[in-house]
Symmetry: C2
Subunit: 653 residues, 2 copies
């Protein structure tokens, strides 16, 4: 049932790229009459605030970026999986453990799908989760501090792409393998993949009080590629849906070999039933190695624990828990509408969208109307579960979001457009070009029970001529469409940082009031904190020297230190004594093989410096903090190894 | 002559912060009638382009960010001094040498003052330079590729702040010490600073053909703090001006101890005269260690060379080369007007601006009217060189730019405002509040002979309530004022990334046409390039394995590799075969203690991976490159150390 050949498909893609470029010129000119109206729509005047937060994954930056809508302005880059020299994340002693894995320190990842915690299917704005694709990890970020608080590595996984989406009450955040691998890992020929490699779908529980994550169970699946996922909601709460491709189980040249089957599957997982099974002692504990890293807000310090086993579930041994829904064709996104009834399969090599019905699925399961099985997992009949098909004429559907008004919006990568259509009637209402080759799209709350359907943001994969050129490397581009009327209206282009895959939006009023402004010095439990000048000291322990340093506008205590020697390992533990909002200080030491420390009010951070040369070496504050910021500096005298310079420290003497 | 006490000053600063917050509310409401007009002024409609590039320093990000004006959108972050996981800069084998220094690998710096190359005093748009403050370095970035091409470490330096400004024909880019140190470095008591520590002003030549830098000479100066600098132009071409503070030579609590003198100095340096002296064999060669790192666009690879000596100049031995101009009070910025006549000292603890006259300075020097000397350097009389004073009533002047229409614009940090005044008459024309506590400001070309005076951008140090809150850490904020009319008009707020100190703007039409789109495969001279599938191979040399890999939409060649063993050091040398604009591919390997590689069309990059566990491990493309991007993956079989698995590689077999 091979529908496209390799060469044909490449040519088709090329042609469509060209035609979408052509569209753009026409569009720009036809739009010009609306410019001033659109200008006002996206303009946020000085002193005013945006209406929505948009949390956009950084993709290959490894981080999460925070934008405002409708202005498209970037307010912060939150370091998650990657070292971030700007603040010292992944360089400071306190944050290095956050990037620990069973493979050792991994300073980068590919962050894909942010999802905001939910209560009763609505955004609750407590945390946001995001997955690391490459070295499989799930991170939890606080939405009061906007800091990464926890990272859980996912064992028995690879290409952690069908992640990190949450269930209706944030009972679980899920992770799934895009790349199947031997489970457990072993040295075996790659071309024996078929039937031997496995996928895994991991369910990580989230503590409702403090958000702490625990890997509860892993479902071991056939060796397909699990691409994306979304939870059921409302009546389908308790189920989770995962797309698959490469049901061919090809191990090489997937471009050709994984595009052979006319239909792949959406896997429907009844996690409530598995939860019961686990509660009753079901599952097999299996040796595994994975890091669990937790940042403590009071000690300002992360710890990393290597976990040693994981509970695995063989779904063929727990009947009624996993079913396959045939879905054309290499489906990429799977999205569930706000009612929980419709499960939309975005078959990336298909022109049509396939919508499955939850009610029909349940009926077919109850009637045991199966069409065979795959590795012991029942396959439902396509016709029995199909709710309808959207025939839009677009090519390359990838993702769908919802506006809560009965409309769905689907991106088409190849034909470079967003298509708006009606749930239930499947009729196309509107379509607008994107510039160019859109991937994900986002409506605030658009994957929850309660979307806020005012804007849709398209995240595009190709930028080309949208902005002033910046050499061969360009930022990706996003576009905002106003969807408050009957039709979509393109109102703005804005560049994004890294490569946003999915994003999560939320009304500002749900987050802004509880945003933390400072860390209280009185709550600082860092073991090396100097919460006032009186705590400042320098302590030598062999060749380790610990400097307990405090900083306040506009000096360090101490600022003259002697008695350090070549060969020492010097720890600067620096506490920002300020207790006002937006008065960070920075700390930098000349020649350190390290980044700076950017330290928020009330916070303590530590930097290691191994002086290599005798002399007198300066340090200084890197954040312009007051009119006398330039004066905020100090010196360290480094004597040769073995010399007798006495340890001493002072300020203003 | 101590004018402010420590506590008084702190209270003053606090009071002014509060009052500037109060202003903001009034401003926002009075502005609302103008909103729609301002919205149109900053709106760049989809498909249209910004009028100007703005290159904003990233400050403690260590990088350079590229914005469009008037939209305030960020188009790129160019990694310069810091590791950048997004692209692999500082992680890939090719770019690690860029961050080498005499202190070893330094993965971060504090990037302050970008300056675009000039010809005849006008922006020529070939290169942009920027300084690393902490571990003293100067970088040169290509404005056709937007990549860092060269980094020169600066020896005998610390706190490289009065950098990196260029002379009228880019003969030199300068660097100067904000922190004086023992020169050469030696183990000595810190409190013997006075009279023993030295500053240095370094003149780095720039090859007019290829931009290559060479440290020509260093002027050894008294141990003051050299804060900022600007070149003469027109009639003052051949001179360079540096501000000083801490002429008290305090070594501790500078906040108090370096604010004692009523006047510090602007150092006027006749570099043309020193150049002659050097050409005639003058100066003393001194041992020094400093790295010189050069990136080759054809091999896509950087090399680092450790240089061993530097030519130093004792200015007291070369009469007529350096003079001190007394300037109140701890001057921060020094700026030269487009005509080259006026040298503006921004005395940060002064209410007034002090403007010196170049003509008067030359006359006073010729008449030998000196008011004593400091460490052998003649001091001119304040009254003899004074052109005028701007009495604005503002507090804390920091920096001045020019619009080419006879107006100057000065930032006042403490009173949080930009003041517009007339050159020659010194009258204040307009003043507008900033939100909050402005540092630098920028007019495109505003520090050249030919400014483009349409917008001024204020770069503010305090953000507080300007945007939706993001926890304790906020981005800094910039503001755009329209200066095309008689008065300044605030038209937009936009957040910036890192902490922009200075910026450099240039009309888009001068850069955009020559922006490079791809690297030609035919010009790729990388020693490990696989410019086509036929070049792909895997070569073992002991425990080092070199994989020559090519990538094209949508597969790697090879994509199945066996015969790798635990304990091997695997080099992936990955070449992007694409030759279309904006078709990068990425490369990531599970568990690598490294970042990804982001590889532009025609480029080769290399990543080291040391596999730790036997098994079959995937790699994949991280940049969504085509409809079959998800299929762009491969596997590597890792066998235990000492096993006999044969080395083999394949695609589609």
């Amino acid at each position: 049932m091979k529908k496209y050949t390799f060469h044909l498909f490449a040519i088709l893609g090329m042609a469509l790229f060209l035609s979408s470029c052509g569209d753009q010129n026409g569009k720009a000119s036809s739009n010009s009459g609306l410019s001033s109206n659109n200008a006002e729509k996206v303009y946020v005047a000085p002193g005013e605030h945006d209406e929505f937060y948009a949390f956009m994954s950084g993709g290959y930056s490894g981080n999460l970026t925070v934008y405002g809508l409708p202005s498209g302005r970037m307010f912060k880059e939150i370091p998650v999986f990657s070292q971030f020299p700007t603040s010292g994340y992944g360089y400071s002693e306190e944050t290095k453990p956050m990037l620990n894995t069973s493979f050792g320190f991994v300073p980068w990842d590919d962050a894909h799908h942010p999802d905001i915690s939910q209560t009763n299917g609505e955004l609750d704005g407590r945390w946001i989760f995001i997955n690391g694709n490459n070295t499989p990890r799930i991170a939890r970020i606080s939405l009061s501090t906007f800091e990464t608080e926890e990272i859980m590595e996912v064992p028995n996984s690879a290409g952690n792409h069908s992640s990190s989406f949450v269930t209706e009450n944030t009972e679980y955040v899920v992770a799934g393998t895009r790349f199947s691998v031997p489970i457990p890992q072993r040295d075996m020929p790659i071309n024996e993949y078929k039937g031997n490699f496995r996928g895994s779908l991991s369910f990580i529980s989230v503590d409702p009080e403090d958000g702490h994550m625990d890997l509860k169970f892993q479902i071991l699946m056939p060796g397909f590629n699990y691409d994306l996922s979304h939870p059921g909601r409302g009546k389908s709460h308790g189920w989770f849906f995962f797309t698959t491709y490469n049901t061919e189980e090809a191990n090489s040249l997937l471009e050709v070999n994984a595009s052979q089957n006319d239909k792949d599957f959406i896997a429907a997982v009844n996690w409530k039933k598995i939860e019961e099974y686990v509660a009753n002692g079901g599952g097999t504990m299996m040796p595994a190695e994975y890091a669990h890293n937790v940042y403590d807000e009071e000690t300002h310090t992360a710890t990393s624990t290597l976990k040693k086993e994981v509970l695995t579930i063989d779904p063929t041994k727990v009947p009624g828990t996993v079913y396959f829904l045939p879905t054309p064709k290499s489906p990429h996104g799977v999205d569930v509408d706000p009612s929980g009834e419709y499960i939309i399969g975005n078959g990336k090599l298909s022109a049509d969208l396939t919508i499955h019905s939850f009610d029909k699925m349940v009926a077919a399961i109850e009637a045991k109307k199966f069409d065979g099985e795959a590795y012991g997992i029942p396959i439902l009949k396509f016709e029995d579960v199909l709710a309808g098909t959207v025939k839009s004429g677009g090519l390359g559907p990838l993702h769908t979001e919802f506006d809560g008004e009965g409309n769905a919006y689907t991106t088409f990568f190849i034909s470079s457009e967003v298509v708006m259509w009606k749930l239930g009637t499947w009729e196309v209402v509107d379509r607008k070009p994107t510039y160019y080759s859109v991937g994900h799209l986002m409506i605030p709350g658009g994957n929850s029970r309660k979307p806020f359907g005012k804007y849709v943001v398209a995240m595009n994969k190709i930028t080309k001529d949208r902005y002033l050129p910046t050499g061969p490397e360009l930022e990706h581009s996003a576009q905002i469409y106003d969807i408050s009327g009957d039709k979509m209206e393109l109102i703005y282009d804005f560049p994004t940082h890294g490569e946003p895959h999915y994003a999560a939006g939320i009304p500002a009023e749900l987050l802004a009031p509880k945003s933390k402004k400072i860390y209280k010095l009185s709550e600082n439990k860092h073991p090396f904190a100097a919460t006032g000048p009186a705590d400042s000291k320098v302590v030598r322990e062999g060749n380790e020297v610990h400097i307990y340093m405090s900083m306040i506008r506009s000096h360090f205590t101490p600022d003259n230190i002697e008695g350090i020697k070549v060969g020492d390992k010097v720890y600067f533990h620096v506490t920002n004594q300020e207790q006002d909002f937006d008065v960070p200080h920075g700390f930098a030491m000349i020649g350190a093989n390290n980044s700076e420390l950017l330290i928020m009010p009330g916070q303590t951070k530590s930097l290691v410096w191994e002086p290599k040369k005798a002399g007198v070496w300066p340090f200084y504050c890197t954040d312009f903090c007051s009119a006398l910021h330039q004066e905020m500096q100090g010196y360290i005298r480094v004597s040769p190894a073995g010399s007798n310079t006495e340890l001493s420290w002072s300020l203003g003497e």
